[in-house]
């Protein structure tokens, strides 16, 4: 007999798909048989990655944050996502390109931004919360379920952080999907079948998988991935080159170091994009205090040079992928390309050459992951019957044995959810705690990942206790651990302390704090959100039109006064839809003024 499916309560809102990117994020919503992408007021589906936090408490994400980044680089995080998978050391090595003070480079990265110290997880949660609000205001219905994309390279603990950030942002049901798996699902939704190799190559990550796509089941056979192998890495090289030239040409004001660096990064991205299409390009850096702007011409050969390391790294990952799957060039029915970097001819040619498969047609590389994420969402909502995705672990995990050698407990390619039981004992009399190092397999190396800490064991003679430790990888690839004494069945306290990420105790505490958060009824919450946003915009527009009256025409002043008054009245008594419309209108008319103010602000360090 079939099971009754009754989605109920607020947690039952349909899943949305979030392609969480380092440069831009895309949100997809199930729409009829297919998917629609959330767009901003300009119709653009890419929601820019930057997150701006002002000392006054304002939070902006997307285009609004990106616009401010040149003026307030220290307050504007270029990419919240890249905080989750990079160490404090790596970020600090970016120097002025990462202009935020790292107050704790430890397991849970903490940075100072907008006058406060916040953890990487909190910052990602703020970004997700902004996306969720947009969805709810747009659709006037709760958005409490999300399928969020993850790069393959995210460790089990990075994935845990990602999951938790989405929970903190108010998504109550969260499921992750690896980028290549999502792109494969999007392809399957269009009828694609067979053995397929999928490469996702974006701002910071390269992820690739081999997927067996059968009508009912998609099986992830093998996957590989690494961070700092994307467009951002190339941009940082170009930006460093630009900065060196600027510093060589003129003395710069040290107070404008962060501004200059961000300007170089933004310019670098333009250079990369231009040289992907044409053979040469020229950029200008108009610095205040300099007699004339610094002009710099670049040729395609420059880009080839900057891309070399990234290209070579990705190429080695492709070889490793085929080795893991025991497959060779030509073994595939199709090659799926997703992510902005796959548009670069040099990158695309390499992938085609390595895999020897025809590139799947009709796939928009920028939207493929978002569309696939919502395809999984439809399956989770039981709105689509097929296909079920069987995910697998991208990497193997192992424990340090008695002789110091690492022994695998869960191998790469293991289908998840999975578990493995290992037996431990003590080597000291009356020992009540046991610690063991957990490793992850990177290519042929074992690298330390976390410390497993068992405590509250019954004191006994050395070697007597038999402690059964169960390692579990859930369907999202997140690891957890449980332990019990075999004879007495007594549960031990088992904790994971990752080198990067949250400990078991921190995860528990965060989840508990979410559970006690009071459930607000949706119409009231929606009203509050719309009013807050309208209020925030109103304040900044009022303030700007007062302080920058000189930059406005008379007509503009009149229009602003009228719209401000309308908004003031609506905020108190208007319907949600009315306020939302007024909000969009006010945003639209405020746009040109905002640009003028920002441009004027930039004059302080640019010419």
């Amino acid at each position: 007999m079939a099971l009754q499916m009754t989605p109920q309560g607020t947690s039952g809102s349909p899943f949305v798909g979030i392609d969480f990117g380092s440069c831009a994020t895309r949100v997809s919503i199930a729409h009829g048989e297919g998917a629609a992408l959330l767009t901003d007021s300009t119709g653009e589906s890419a929601i820019a990655a930057p997150l701006a936090l002002s000392p006054q408490g304002g939070v902006l994400a997307g285009a609004a944050a990106r616009e401010r980044q040149l003026l307030f680089p220290e307050e504007t995080l270029l990419s919240p996502k890249s905080l989750l998978c990079q160490s404090g050391e790596e970020l600090a090595a970016d120097e002025a390109l990462f202009p935020h003070k790292i107050s704790d480079p430890g397991a849970v990265l903490q940075i100072e931004i907008g006058g406060r110290t916040r953890s990487a997880v909190e910052l990602v949660a703020l970004y997700f919360a902004e996306l969720r609000q947009r969805l709810e205001i747009l659709r006037e219905s709760p958005a409490s379920s999300a399928v969020v994309s993850t790069p393959v390279a995210f460790s089990p603990f990075d994935r845990q952080s990602l999951h938790l950030a989405a929970r903190m942002a108010g998504f109550q049901r969260v499921r992750l999907i690896e980028d290549p798996t999502a792109a494969a699902l999007g392809w399957m939704a269009r009828g694609g079948r067979g053995r397929v190799v999928v490469c996702c190559w974006g701002g910071e990550h390269f992820s690739a998988s081999i997927v067996q796509a059968d009508p009912e089941i998609a099986r992830v056979i093998a996957s590989v991935g690494a961070a700092r192998v994307g467009g951002g890495q190339i941009d940082r090289l170009i930006a460093r080159d630009l900065l060196e030239r600027v510093r060589g040409a003129l003395t710069t004001d040290p107070r404008h170091e962060a501004h200059l660096a961000r300007y170089a990064l933004v310019t670098a991205e333009k250079v990369r994009r231009a040289l992907s299409q044409k053979s040469k390009t020229e950029v200008q850096i108009p610095l205040a205090g300099a007699a004339k702007p610094l002009k710099q011409a670049y040729q395609k050969e420059h880009l080839v040079g900057w891309s070399e390391a990234v290209l070579g790294h990705a190429r080695r990952l492709c070889d490793l992928l085929q080795q893991k799957a025991e497959r060779r060039r030509g073994d595939y029915d199709a090659l799926i390309l997703a992510g902005g970097l796959t548009r670069m001819p040099q990158m695309r040619e390499m992938l085609e050459q390595v895999f020897g498969a025809p590139v799947a047609e009709g796939i928009d590389p920028e939207e493929a992951v978002a569309r696939g994420a919502v395809a999984r969402g439809r399956y989770l909502d039981r709105a689509a019957e097929l296909p079920l995705v069987l995910d697998s672990l991208p990497r193997g995990y192992g424990l340090e044995g008695p002789g110091g050698a690492v022994e695998a407990i869960l191998e790469a390619g293991t289908a998840v959810p999975a578990s493995k039981v290992e037996t431990f004992t003590t080597y000291l009399d009356q020992q009540t705690t046991v610690g063991v190092q957990l490793f992850s397999q990177v290519a042929s190396d074992w690298r330390p990942l976390a410390q497993v800490q068992l405590s509250k064991a019954t004191p006994m003679k050395a070697g007597q206790p038999a402690i059964e430790v169960t390692f579990t990888a859930d369907e999202d690839g997140v690891l957890s651990v449980e332990a019990a004494e075999m004879m007495r069945g007594k549960q031990l306290v088992a904790e994971l302390h990752p080198l990067r990420g949250l400990s078991s105790a921190q995860v528990r505490a965060t989840l508990e704090s979410l559970d006690v958060a009071a459930d607000e009824d949706f119409p009231a919450a929606l009203r509050r959100m719309v009013k807050d946003r309208a209020g925030f915009l109103l304040r900044s527009v009022r303030d700007a039109s007062r302080r920058h009256a000189g930059k406005m025409t008379r007509d503009e002043k009149q229009l602003f006064a009228k719209k401000i008054q309308e908004m003031e009245e609506l905020i108190d008594a208007g319907e949600v839809a009315e306020i939302r419309e007024a909000l969009q209108e006010l945003e639209a008319i405020a746009g040109p003024l905002k640009s003028r103010i920002l441009d004027a602000g930039l004059q302080t360090f640019l010419r």
Binding site: L3, P7, E216, A226, L380, L388, P417
Partner: protein, 232 residues
């Protein structure tokens, strides 16, 4: 066993055939989980189809829409049980290892030189050591000088691998006959089977290591894939 949700007496292990709700997997053999007799010779395709058919009934993704944490947790347990069982059974050597372990044979089995290679064991050791030394010292000439020896040893190793495979098939057949004599139930161990299976496993471990060393020995270090891949 009864279904925790509808109290129906269960025939299947992973999913209640009446209410469709997945069941928590307790202490159970992987054969029981997959609902198949404890045979050792299985067609790979057939096992995979059995596994996938069951995955389509108990994967947690099928139960998200319920918003019932108990159902979701049970589905996770069922799917974990299914994945763990399939992982054990999908490879013939790991199946054999499971059968030995379930019969109480849990200690590590030491490597043993297969019978056909015993006379050659010393030469094999010398050639491989010479090659490994040449590789580590970067002595291309010494390495080259050993390649003919290596090639002839390779032939011997392949023959040993073939014999090993034939022995495995015989062991599996013998076990399967005992299973069918017991109407598909867990059988009495055929006389001497345990010892033969163990010595087979010991020899297989020797062959695996030997082949890995030979494969490495055939490559001059410079030809090995260059560069460390960070992030895999």
């Amino acid at each position: 066993m009864k279904c925790w949700n509808c109290q129906n007496a269960l025939e299947e292990v992973l999913v209640c055939e009446r209410c469709g709700v997945p069941q928590t997997v307790g202490f159970m053999s992987p054969f029981e989980v997959l609902g198949i007799p404890p045979n050792l010779s299985w067609e790979e395709e057939k096992l995979r189809r059995t596994y996938e058919r069951m995955a389509l009934r108990c994967h947690p993704d099928l139960f998200r829409a319920h918003n019932d944490d108990r159902v979701l947790q049970a589905a996770r347990s069922a799917m974990r049980g299914l994945n763990d069982a399939y992982r054990t059974l999908s490879d013939p050597v790991s199946r054999l290892r499971y059968v030995l372990a379930a019969s109480g044979q849990t200690q590590e089995i030491p490597r043993a030189v297969p019978e056909g290679l015993q006379a050659k064991a010393q030469i094999i050791g010398r050639v491989l050591e010479a090659i490994e030394q040449a590789r580590s010292e970067g002595d291309a000439e010494a390495w080259e000088a050993q390649q003919d020896h290596l090639a002839s040893l390779q032939v011997q190793a392949e023959k040993a691998r073939d014999r090993s495979h034939a022995t495995l098939l015989a062991l599996m057949l013998e076990w399967d006959q005992a299973v069918s004599q017991n109407d598909g139930g867990w059988p009495e161990m055929p006389p001497g089977w345990n010892e033969r299976a163990m010595s087979w496993l010991g020899e297989r471990r020797y062959l695996d290591v030997l082949e890995a060393r030979m494969a490495a020995g055939r490559q001059w270090p410079a030809e090995a894939p260059a560069g460390e891949v960070s992030g895999g």
